[in-house]
């Protein structure tokens, strides 16, 4: 027997795919293929290996960028949340970064770092890091002060108070920042392939569009969305394993 949430997920997926198929058959636009055509293209690209070579390219800046953003973003966010001085120094940078129009920055990045991997990693980081930093710092700042006081009164060291009280208490919001950051990182990775040099999945999208092979183009877009969803689910699983008790609700007076 499937659980209710799973059932709902399957149902909503079916509705979306059904709507896609119908829209493709009307057709809404001659450039909009049906769901089945797109899936056929996806299967073809999977079996002839095109997709794997493409992801080999795309995942490099994506994974590197997300790893950097996660490690650096959480550390900087912690520092900002813990120290007013650091907040003053760093917060404005990330607020500007989050607000900045990325497309306008790309030419600058290309000028500074060329069209290689470095620029693409930068794009992923610029997309992913601000939300991770800002979520982490606000979660850390909002740790209930009575919990911190409790830690001090039972003689916890500063480090223990950070690792045993502040981080676990902030973890739900840190993880929601990570989820947002990772989604933004995916957008950044594809954007960099569309705007800097067409490689990987971005190349499939650009190329199929130029030869009007719309099913392949949509298949590539679909695959990246699928990958992002799988990745986010993985993240949720990790969170549940690491901070089991946080699913158990909060106690207030």
């Amino acid at each position: 027997m499937l659980s209710r949430p799973t059932l709902l997920k399957i149902l909503s997926t079916l509705i979306v795919f059904g709507a896609w198929e119908i829209a493709g058959r009307i057709p809404v636009s001659y450039a909009f293929p049906t769901f089945i055509e797109s899936m056929q293209a996806l299967a073809r690209m999977t079996f002839d290996g095109t997709l794997f070579t493409a992801y080999g390219e795309t995942l490099k800046p994506l994974v590197i960028g997300i790893l950097i953003s996660t490690v650096l973003g959480i550390s900087i966010g912690l520092a900002i949340g813990l120290s007013g001085w650091f907040d003053w120094l760093m917060s404005p940078i990330f607020i500007v970064m989050q607000a900045a129009p990325l497309a306008a920055l790309i030419p600058l990045l290309v000028m500074a770092y060329g069209i290689g991997l470095t620029s693409k990693v930068f794009v992923v980081c610029i997309m992913a890091m601000p939300v991770i930093v800002l979520n982490t710092s606000s979660a850390v700042r909002n740790t209930p002060s009575s919990l911190k006081e409790m830690g001090r009164s039972f003689l916890g060291s500063d480090l223990e108070i950070i690792t045993k009280i502040i981080i676990p208490s902030a973890s739900p919001i840190i993880f929601s920042g990570l989820r947002l950051g990772v989604s933004a990182g995916f957008i950044g990775a594809i954007l960099s392939e569309l705007k800097i040099t067409p490689t990987g999945v971005g190349d499939i999208i650009t190329y199929s569009r130029s030869i009007a092979d719309y099913p392949s183009m949509y298949a590539a877009i679909f695959s990246i969305i699928l990958l992002a969803v799988l990745f986010l689910n993985l993240l949720e699983t990790i969170e549940n394993i690491l901070f089991e008790g946080n699913n158990r609700g909060y106690v207030s007076d």
Partner: protein, 266 residues
Amino acid sequence: MSQTKEAFAKATALDTEIAVSTRNICKNYGAVEALKNLSLDFPRGQLTSLLGPSGCGKTTLLKIIAGLLEPTSGEVEVNGRLVTGPGPNRAFVFQDFALLPWASVMRNVAFGLELRGVAKSEREAIAERYIREVGLAGFEKSFPHELSGGMRQRVGLARALSVDAKVLLLDEPFSAVDEQTRRKFQEDMLNLVAHENKTFIFVTHSIEEAVFISDQIAILLPRPSRVSEIIRPTGFRNRDMGNIRRDPEYLDIVDQIWASLRSYVE
């Protein structure tokens, strides 16, 4: 009234050793004068209540004694040594429980020991004993949100007891429980005071509660906060617990405290 006077007479002939003493404590929060020139001694092995209207600085005083807040001026001594911060000789029971929501009852109770670096098996053995003592046996694996308010409060109490500090600071520990449970807790508290050789500093809003469980009651008045009276109920302390509430001295003291506090309750 005569019995009350008698109690006051005894109060002056104080011979117990002093465990905690506060001298000329002032505490300002910006423009708010929370405490002004407050001096108070807490005898060893006894329970002292801080009683007073809301906002008169009871929590503030307790946190200053705990070393969690710096007084603006004045000093606190515990066992003759000046307090500069939290120490192993004091444990705090928080008004809002301060339990870790992601940790089981067992981990919460053992958390004080965990922070002191006690090994896991050892601290869990100690925690288990105190979980039983506060009547939560069987709930070791529960999480705080699965407990009632009164049970959460008892988790906080067990945590403070398990670090075996000589001075226990309790900030309205029974505020979250119903009247029946409250009476039961008060009796448990009297047993605790009788059997553990600890000094209890106990904040409460309830006049009856203060008179029932205290060896000494300090009445605080607000703006600026100061100790207005110290009352030592002595006559009924050695009687059977069930009869305390019928004791004329008990009733007299309750009346007298109400008379001095009523002008502050509009």
